[in-house]
Amino acid sequence: MKLSVRGVSFAYDGAFALEQVDLEARPGEVLALTGPNGAGKTTLLRVMSGALAPCQGTAYLDALDVAALKPLQIARRLSVLEQEKPFSFDFCAQEVVSWGRLAHRRRWGRWSDKDQRAVQRALELTQTQAFAGRVLRTLSGGERQRVFLALALAQEPEALLLDEPTLHLDLNHQLQLLDFIRGLARDGLTVVMALHDLNLAARYADRVAVLRQGRLAAYGLPADVLTERRIQEVWGVRVRVLADRQRLWILT
C-alpha cells in the first residue's frame, strides 16, 4: 500500500507545525523522517495515520483520503507504533498483542482461529512468546517495545508507522529492532518512521525526508540527503560524512 501526503499543512492553535508537505512511501520501502526537535515529524505521522486531520492538503492510503476513513477502516491496513505508550497497566503481553485483532473482528464475533494464528505469528516474529504470559509492567524497555511491535503486527497491516521506535533501547536492541523492521519492508510492508539518529536513518532507510520547522527541507536517497552541508544547515552542527559504495557514516 502506498502512503502519501499532498500539500499537507497542520496548525496547533494557529502556529503551523506542518506547511505544504508532499511525501510518499511505497510498498517495500522504508522512509525515515528526520529533523531537529519540533520539526513536525510526529505531527506528520499523526496526519498520515488519521489521528490528526490536516487543515490543508490530504493524506492518502493508496488513493483513499485518510480523513474520510473511519478508524476501523484505517486500522485494518495501517499499524501505528507511537512514541509514548503507557506501561503501568497490569495486562499480560499476550493480551496486549491480541488487541491487534480488534480491527478485524465483528463486534459479536467470536475469537477465530485466524485471530489466534495472527497473534501467535506476531509473538513468534518478535520473539516475545517467552514472556507472553508476563505482565507488561514487569518487562524491560526492550521487551516492552517488542510487545508493542507484536501488537502492531497482529493487525496484519500493509503499512507501519513508527515514531522513534529505538527510543530507550540500547545499541544492540536498536539494531535488532531496525533489522527486523527492514525485514518486514523486504516482505512488502510500507514503513515510515521518525528517527533522530541520522546514522540509523542512513543505514536502514531507502529514502530519507528531512523536516525543518514544518517544511520539507530535503527528500531522497540517504546519500543525497544527508550531506555535511545540509546537516550544518538544518541542525546547525558541523559533522563529517564518510561514504563508501554501501554505507554512510556521519561523525560528530
Partner: protein, 339 residues
C-alpha cells in the same frame, strides 16, 4: 490471571452469592425454624400451619435479597466500566455525579406526584433522565475544547455536577411540602422498598445491560492505551464511550430508583476484584456482578439484623465494611502502581 486461578475465584464468588442469598432469606427479626423455611421455599405458598412465615419469606425476604443482589451487581459493574472508560481509579457512579443526577430526577418525580400508577417504574425513568443529563453534560463539557479529552476534566466536571444535582435534590425536599417525607425516606436509601414488582423490570435491565457490556470487554481493556492508542487499533473511542456510558447510566439509574443512594459499592467491589484478579474486563465484569451481589446482600442482612428491630441504612454499612477493607487492599498493593 491464570485461567485455573480465575476458575477458583469464580467458584468462591458464586459460593459467596449463595451464602449471601441463604443468609438474606434465613435471617431476620422473625425466627423461622429451618425445616419450615425449607418447606416454604420448596413448596411455594402451600397451606402450612404458619402462613405468616410463608408471607415473610416469599413476600419480603426473597424479593429483598434478590433486589439487593441486583442493585449490588448493577453498581459494581457500573463502577468497573467507569473506571475502565475514564482510566481513573476514582471513577464510580457516585463520583461522576450520575447517581446524584439520578437521585434528583427521581426526587422530581416524587415531588411532582408523577408516580401515579407506574410507581417504581416512573422513578426509574426519572432517575435515568437525571443520570443521562449528567453524563451528557459531562461529556460535552469535556469536548468543548479541541484535542484529546482529559479524563481528570471529566471527573472534575462530574464532581461539580454531582454537587449541583445534590443541591437540586435538597431544594426539592425543601420546596416539596407534603411529599417531603417520601423524598427523604427515598434518599436515605436502603432496600426496604424491595418487591416483586420492582424486580420485574430491575432484573431484565441489569442482566441485559451486563450482557450488552461483555462483548466490549476487550475494547475496554485496550482503552489502557489511551485515546489515540485505541484509535490506531480501529476502536472509535467516542462511540465506545457513548455506548458504555449509556448502558451504565441505565443500570445505575435503575439501581438508584429502587434503592436510593448506596455509596461505595461501585468503588470498592471493582477495585477489590481488580486487585485479586487483574484488570481484564472479560473476567472483571462477571466477577463484579457476582461480587457486588454478594457484598450488598450481606450488608443488607447485617443492616436488617444488627440493630433489630431498628434497621440501619445499608449505605452506612457498605461504607463501614467497605472502607477499611479497601484501605487494607490498598496497603497490600502500595508500591505496585497502576490502575
Amino acid at each position: 490471571m491464570h485461567s485455573g486461578a480465575a476458575r477458583w475465584m469464580f467458584l468462591a464468588l458464586a459460593l459467596l452469592v449463595l451464602l449471601g442469598l441463604g443468609a438474606g432469606v434465613a435471617i431476620g427479626p422473625v425466627m423461622i425454624p429451618l425445616d419450615q423455611l425449607v418447606d416454604i421455599l420448596f413448596k411455594g405458598w402451600g397451606a402450612e400451619d404458619k402462613p405468616a412465615f410463608a408471607q415473610i419469606v416469599h413476600g419480603l425476604r426473597v424479593p429483598r435479597a434478590l433486589t439487593a443482589a441486583l442493585v449490588g451487581w448493577a453498581l459494581a459493574v457500573s463502577g468497573a466500566v467507569m473506571q475502565g472508560v475514564f482510566q481513573n481509579p476514582l471513577a464510580s457512579p457516585y463520583v461522576l455525579g450520575i447517581a446524584s443526577g439520578a437521585s434528583a430526577g427521581a426526587a422530581l418525580v416524587i415531588a411532582l406526584g408523577l408516580q401515579g400508577s407506574l410507581g417504581g417504574f416512573a422513578l426509574a425513568i426519572g432517575a435515568f433522565v437525571g443520570g443521562a443529563v449528567v453524563v451528557w453534560v459531562v461529556q460535552h463539557l469535556a469536548r468543548l475544547r479541541s484535542g484529546p479529552v482529559r479524563t481528570d476534566t471529566l471527573i472534575l466536571a462530574g464532581v461539580a455536577l454531582g454537587a449541583l444535582f445534590s443541591a437540586v435534590t435538597t431544594l426539592l425536599i425543601f420546596l416539596s411540602g407534603e411529599q417531603l417525607k417520601a423524598i427523604v425516606l427515598w434518599i436515605m436509601g436502603g432496600l426496604g422498598r424491595s418487591s416483586w414488582s420492582y424486580l420485574t423490570w430491575l432484573a431484565p435491565v441489569v442482566v441485559a445491560g451486563t450482557a450488552l457490556l461483555l462483548p466490549y470487554a476487550r475494547q475496554m481493556n485496550a482503552l489502557a492505551l489511551g485515546e489515540t492508542g485505541v484509535r490506531h487499533l480501529g476502536v472509535d473511542s467516542k462511540r465506545l464511550h457513548r455506548v458504555l456510558l449509556g448502558v451504565v447510566t441505565l443500570m445505575t439509574a435503575s439501581a438508584v430508583a429502587v434503592a436510593g443512594t448506596i455509596g461505595f459499592v461501585g468503588l470498592i467491589v471493582p477495585h477489590a476484584l481488580r486487585l485479586l484478579m487483574g484488570p481484564d474486563h472479560r473476567l472483571l465484569l462477571p466477577a463484579c456482578a457476582l461480587g457486588g451481589a454478594a457484598f450488598l446482600m450481606t450488608c443488607d442482612t447485617l443492616a436488617r439484623t444488627a440493630w433489630a428491630p431498628l434497621e440501619l441504612p445499608v449505605g452506612v454499612l457498605t461504607a463501614m465494611v467497605g472502607a477499611p477493607f479497601f484501605l487494607l487492599l490498598l496497603l497490600r498493593r502500595q508500591g505496585r502502581g497502576g490502575l
